[in-house]
Subunit: 418 residues, 2 copies
Amino acid sequence: MSIAISNAIIVTQNDNRDVYRGNVKIDGNKIQYVGKDEVDGDILIDGTNKVLMPGLINTHAHVGMSASKGLFDDVDLDSFLKKTFEYDSDRTSTGIFNSAKLGMYEMIGNGITAFVDLYYSEDIIAKAAEEIGIRAFLSWVTLDKELTTQIGDPVENAENFIRNHVGNKYVVPSVGVQGIYVANDDTFRRAMDLAEKYGTILHMHLSETRKEVYDAVKKLGERPIEHLHNIGILNKRVLAAHCVWATYHEVRLLSKDGVNVSWNSISNFKLGTGGIPPIPEMMRENVNVTIGTDSNGSNNSLDMFQAMKFSAISVKNYRWDASLMKAQEILDMATRNAARALQLNAGSIEVGKLADVVLLDATIPSMIPTNEANAVSNIVYSSSPQNVDTVIIDGEIKKINGKILGFHSNKFTNSEFK
Amino acid sequence: MSIAISNAIIVTQNDNRDVYRGNVKIDGNKIQYVGKDEVDGDILIDGTNKVLMPGLINTHAHVGMSASKGLFDDVDLDSFLKKTFEYDSDRTSTGIFNSAKLGMYEMIGNGITAFVDLYYSEDIIAKAAEEIGIRAFLSWVTLDKELTTQIGDPVENAENFIRNHVGNKYVVPSVGVQGIYVANDDTFRRAMDLAEKYGTILHMHLSETRKEVYDAVKKLGERPIEHLHNIGILNKRVLAAHCVWATYHEVRLLSKDGVNVSWNSISNFKLGTGGIPPIPEMMRENVNVTIGTDSNGSNNSLDMFQAMKFSAISVKNYRWDASLMKAQEILDMATRNAARALQLNAGSIEVGKLADVVLLDATIPSMIPTNEANAVSNIVYSSSPQNVDTVIIDGEIKKINGKILGFHSNKFTNSEFK
């Protein structure tokens, strides 16, 4: 099956960041042609008045909680954690499965073609991802055995999950660690051994809150990033979510160790845990920064357009410098950088890349006028889910003409989400 | 002409903030019934799986600049101002008219039923508002005669504009002042005289940037709000945009004088001018706080859902307190408080109020599940323009089934916007 997209403004996100009006051919699950020549295919998509861009990659989520929106709002962090803990400890497989499907449909609707998840019960979430067909990097969360509500040893559970899902079409299994506040050195080491044994990422929360940093210093004599560096856990396999409370010294350690960072500004802001990581310093030190939404429990939406805009302007404001965090840099984080973190052959519109692409409708007033000169700016600052016209994942159409294929809201209206 | 809306979750925004499933009847341009009884009308709208709420009111915009998105991004404030000044000084009537129409269609698409504008050439913008049918509170901007590029005396221009537009169906004319940095006491006094003579609002920029405050202190020996209070300009007619750099003493002055504040967080953040006004203190002192988008030049979108969410979480983060700025308080600012500032008989779904209402589609994944308990939270934290199904202004349908009536994007594709 081939798809020909003609006459679109192509935001390639290639090494030159070329933006031009042209045509793209998808053959099977790969991009076969990008350029000015006419293209033909089994399915023809008219790209006139549309912007073609790589699919957005959400590098930190907990999709099993997607139906929890509005349950934990406007309360302090301790109350939030207490409420989510109670919610999580009492969940059914059906609830997790339905919530995960809901979140995946939301992400596809919003132009997200791949995401990274951190949760227990990733086997259930994997089933949802395979059924829907979205690229799911699923990290089974581990923590100290004596602190978990998981049945059995979390690290063994993670290994079973990875072993059972290696080689799946859509699911890429991996291991996670909840965070330094519930994982000792041994748990971190066992998780990293697992990541190295199976060649996966190690996905973790890191330096999200002040309390986490203070407690680590008190207990370990070191800040969280310093400590994980010193015990040899930090390397290029690590995808570290948040990293809000990193010192410049720690930024250099992240850089030296090749750690990938997932920046989750909306969640950090909404929880009041301190929202502004040292992103400009990370960029200066060539840390690979990506962007995540976090869950519907703390963000209330899985919207990477919103995350891109808010991330950009939060730093501009905090540093009193509007020239920081340029639209192009932000779009790189949400596409190219994320693909690099996941070693995914995607993140740009180039020949040979996986066909994970999005078409934005530029006929909606918020995107008028759109042209080659302002296309990147309009993606980052003016777009929202209403602009997402077409979503293609692995060469398959998942949303077209604004309609999410296979999604029927009535199947969720009375569903069990708990 | 009457409209009957049945079986919707009604977020009334009445004094009790009642939220319940029920029916609404609109007769002519007023709400005639709200409750549980069956309703009938010339037009029947099925509200099942929809949330009915008052139309959003955007209290600070410059819609004549709506086509300028992507032109002034990622540069420091001085460069931004230089670029916008050059852009503005060279505009045609056609460009302003087309840009204004574009911005009004964008706002209707996004669930905004009324807005407040600050610009010169409001006579052109008034024509666009009357043609499209959106409630437009248009403030002709004044400044010192020797500093303006307007032809003639700005205050006289404002008076002519007001005189020519009193009593219009959609347009409510008023007077504005650009700001203390280009307006001396005499200009402020003449503008206020005009507002009192014609019973209009006085709409101004106030304490938006640090430079504005420093320069005022240097020149006048007082901070901007203090100074305007001391020369008798501040009263309940005033709608003051920004007020970022207000001290607690100044907050008390705003409260004492009954000034209405328009909070424009996204624009303030994106320009790096300091984004967090003392909103909790304003609320404590009963200042009437409302929310604005500012222009597409500095915000790049006219999206009050985005503005509500960013405004809420920016304060939560800044004050390290997630319990501040509750969803209900934020929704009040965007509806009830704004109507109060404008003395507009709207802002809630109640019998006798103007029929400015919006229906949100809750069948989109981002709004599932929505029920009476989380409806307000979902409006503020989970909704975006894609949820705006129906918009009714003054009893007339302006958007239905997600389609903006009368809007044809091809009329804008090659339009002259400059």
